[in-house]
Symmetry: D2
Subunit: 344 residues, 4 copies
């Protein structure tokens, strides 16, 4: 009866990946006598059979270590020439592995679902720093990103106040504004701009001007995926000033000069970038990741292929790939509107 499993981490890295791996190995070994290997660089390692041993000594001290010791990539399991369920089954057979734990985001879950339907023993652990997976209340990494962004706002606020400037901070969030929403609320931002909700440059400037009139320095937090409705596409700001301006840098670098031109308030942009996804995870993310890793060992012991582990309230539950992928979790209108009323 197979007790050997392979773990992979796929897509963008997140603080907490190593804690998932550690949680699975520690509990799996101790409780179920499971053995683990790690596939290198995501699906690439699975497709090519490139593995590293994962035992108690390897995962020692991993819970506070950012990134993933397995490496990650954007390589897909059906990618030619060696991908596909048939070849993967051979790899698993050759490595004497009974199943796969795929830690990843929406793309990873979709691929996992297809592999599962094609007969591969596979379970999933949800991972997205943007927190946009509907299967789970929170994804690990998100909390760390929010804390980093919040600290950045705290820092920008004092320099903004000293110079009476408007500060614009761009945080991650291509399709969902969770990091912007949470860090913006935490940091007391005067406007929070998210992909889910267009706001006109006039509205934004109205908020900024209102803050300034109260004698304060405006703080705007914007998710990278926010689009001005005036922007004809992601790569220009056409319509705002009558000609196509090439979009370089982030949306903060588009917004800052527009705000300055229109309000007359000196405005500076900061793009937080990759530091949001690196480094020591928060305690919250380590706990969540460890619990998910431990619950995964129960799931594979039960041969619960085709499912993911997820957080609901304070419980770790199981969700089918189908259900997990049914909805994209964006910021609900009512939650945004509740905070929007105090902007400005």
């Amino acid at each position: 009866m197979g007790k050997r499993f392979g773990i992979l981490t796929s897509g963008g890295d997140c603080p907490g990946l190593n804690a998932v791996i550690r949680g699975a190995v520690l509990k799996g070994e101790t409780v179920y006598g499971q053995e683990f290997v790690g596939f290198r660089d995501g699906w690439w390692g699975l497709v090519h059979g490139e593995v590293m041993d994962l035992d108690r000594s390897v995962v020692r001290g991993l819970s506070h270590q950012g990134g993933t010791i397995l490496g990650t990539s954007r390589f897909g399991p059906y990618q030619e020439p060696d991908g596909g369920a048939e070849n993967i089954a051979k790899v698993l057979d050759r490595l004497d592995l009974d199943g796969v734990v795929a830690i990843g985001g929406e793309g990873t879950a979709s691929a996992s679902k297809r592999l599962y339907e094609d007969g591969i023993n596979i379970v999933g652990v949800p991972k997205t720093i943007d927190n946009d997976l509907d299967a789970t209340d929170y994804t690990f990494g998100f909390n760390t990103a929010v804390e980093i962004a919040t600290e950045a706002i705290d820092r920008l606020r004092t320099t903004g106040n000293s110079h009476k400037r408007c500060m614009v901070l761009e945080v991650m969030g291509r399709h969902a504004g969770w990091i912007a929403l949470y860090s913006g609320i935490a940091g007391g931002a005067h406007a929070i701009l998210i992909p889910e909700q267009p706001e006109s440059i006039d509205q934004i400037c109205a908020w900024v001007t209102s803050v300034k009139k109260r004698g304060r320095s405006p703080m705007v937090v914007v998710a990278e995926g926010f689009k001005l409705p005036e922007m004809s596409d992601a790569h220009s700001t056409k319509g705002l000033d009558g000609f196509n301006r090439p979009r370089l840098g982030g949306i903060a670098e588009v917004l800052a000069p527009l705000i300055q031109e229109r309000t007359g308030i000196e405005t500076r942009a900061t793009v937080l970038g990759h530091i949001q996804r690196g480094g020591v995870p928060t305690g919250f993310d380590r706990v969540l990741a460890t619990r998910l890793g431990m619950a995964t060992t129960d799931l594979i012991a039960d041969r619960g292929w085709g499912q993911m582990v997820a957080l609901r309230g304070t419980d770790i539950v199981r969700v089918g790939f189908d259900e997990a992928l049914a909805n994209h979790k964006t910021v609900p209108q009512d939650q945004y509107q509740e905070i929007r009323v105090i902007f400005g």
Copy 2:
């Protein structure tokens, strides 16, 4: 139609209290035209009619500020000579206040319930750094405490390893071990000791010895309320070494010498103490506190007296005082057992 309300903070302080106040004032003013005053030093200010104005300018920048600008105390609303619902009703009348928002823990909720039953318009916001209120998935302040304790473990680990010592860290948690559990998991502790679960000194030493044999330095996290079953009462360690030893300092200071004597491993105690409840709240706690504060304004606008706001999953909900007080939220056996299997 009354739109004036008083806010008080009672019991031990928590990071996030100020964010609750700020959230309530900002939304209440903007959406409902509510006005707020703050009672000074908890119930004392309500009983004695000592208030400060709370408006937008007062709550400016409060979300990242620890403690409570209102002050707090352990004074109770029925405390003689001026306490009691009748007198409090007069105070509210004199101050032209339509209701009370009481931010506090179990004691505060009990007192609020009694006041409500005695005819006072009162709602509650749950607050306990120990996270032991069943009404809500998490209480604000808890997350900050966990992060502080986790960082302490990270620091203790390197000094423990360098000296090959066993390190014992005592964290808060008189009746519930949530901070110990979460920070212990996050920090990769080799044993976590909580009030809910007695563990014998033999068991603890077995874990410590096992870690040492693997060449690592044991890390033990203990909640202040943990008791050795051998201890005849909270103030002695009688039975362990045949005579009553006076219990001074925290439980960590009891455990460390016992571990050292029995295992021969040099052992050091650290009592984290008050730094767990002070200072800048985490982003998570600021968001939770702000959301609770904002939801409170809806509750009082609806005249939902006798209820508290609470977190369920990712939603802010309402819970009656009765329900909120029905159960004390301790660490469930299965959640403790799941992590206990990997101790040592």
Copy 3:
């Protein structure tokens, strides 16, 4: 005998400005019976006589607060129409002030020197986040900036390793590379690029490639003022690929695509920006700033006009404006070469 003085903060803000103000007010009041006002927004407040009172209650709790409660600006004291020593003397006379404490960088020191030569009672406190004032071993704010940049490198390293990417971090330092040098050493960067030392793109790529060959992910820290010798001017990268490429964003955003093109290693840029100069100062900066503020009260009590306070070793000393301005403190060749040998 005049005991009233005005304080101003000029130029870019720095963590520690408030601690200087607090240190001066607390010691000045207590020891010398001095009284202080603060000029608003740098020289602007002095020229226009716009002041705020500064006493013990105002400076309460200021040492850990970033920015400057006085505000700052780039306005100069000789700026028309109201500037100039004659007008300033009238303002001081009208406000009954005996002298001025000007906290600022090189420009502020130059202007102070001219005012002093024109008869104004003025002393200086050196301030530059770039640490490029020769008068003093370290300037406050620099330490905080280094810690923030170091933490960013720590974070970028884990995400770089997970993705096998080269990470390029741009930190402050227009004319001096101190922040890059210190944070780069602290973070274990594989290449540190500073304004004082041109390095060819070939050399940079050689370091990056060498790191990659050892199986590690290259980390490059670059000061904003670094210039590739191949760049004909600050606004283009002409010569590198045969055509003028408009220079947008920081130097990191120029370097990253060049490194990627030439080495084939995926490379990402992060521009740290304004978060380096905001927020809570480190303990080191608070101590330095407090000591400088306290020493300033001795200096003005001694009527030591025309001098600045400065750090030498562990002592606070006095330096004439002339001497302070004689040299720009850049990174010495030998200090750079010592670390350069271990690049790659």
Copy 4:
């Protein structure tokens, strides 16, 4: 010509030890072709010839890692039965080592001096978290300890204010009060108590009462080595209340009840303990430690036996063991008096 050297770390651990080791290995290998081994657990490893290899791959990523990968102990090189210069010379010969780098505090420097006089090729790197070595402006680890203590004060302040309590924080410093002085200044403490300067309980209570009268919550920072003049010895508080009270726990736990009894102000003690010496070093300490490590390779290449590397201003210099040990660096009276005048 010998190019092989052994490194040891002795005494209490400090953040930065690993960065010294890394700096030495990286520069020594690259510039001089030196090879290194590490003695395990301080002098114990030297006396017993227990070593680990130290090359570039081993020191990878060490600069931000607290503690020492070599282990440390309080074992002395002349400790029986195997210690002494003659035996150590044999060990070095057997291991083909040309000299020793001893990283440690005053005891280590004394032992190194004796070994040097007995013919051993040895150099030193100063290490003391208490910063009490006169040879050097600052020792690494001290800066990290100050930052940790400063953050603790920041946290205690908000909880103190909320409850109107006096908070007493005990920090490290058995014979020198540097950590208390620096963190106390940084945190804006109302009284700083150091071993160098007795202060009566009456004086302390006078400061505390004065703060309270101004409506603030008193913050007292005390070094572990501070003694009340009323205390007949370190183990009792006799004389204060007429009977010998056993001294258990730290001095903070002695002071807090005394302050409370005498002032009537609720007072709480926190003993920071071992977290001050563990965990990730600050950037400042990593730079200092790395520079010291690199300078050590120059020193051993020059065969400068009998000397230590040290920081003077911003320069790394060399100091003979004699000179290094001539004076103990305590807080000078004038520096203490300068800050003492603003206590209360």
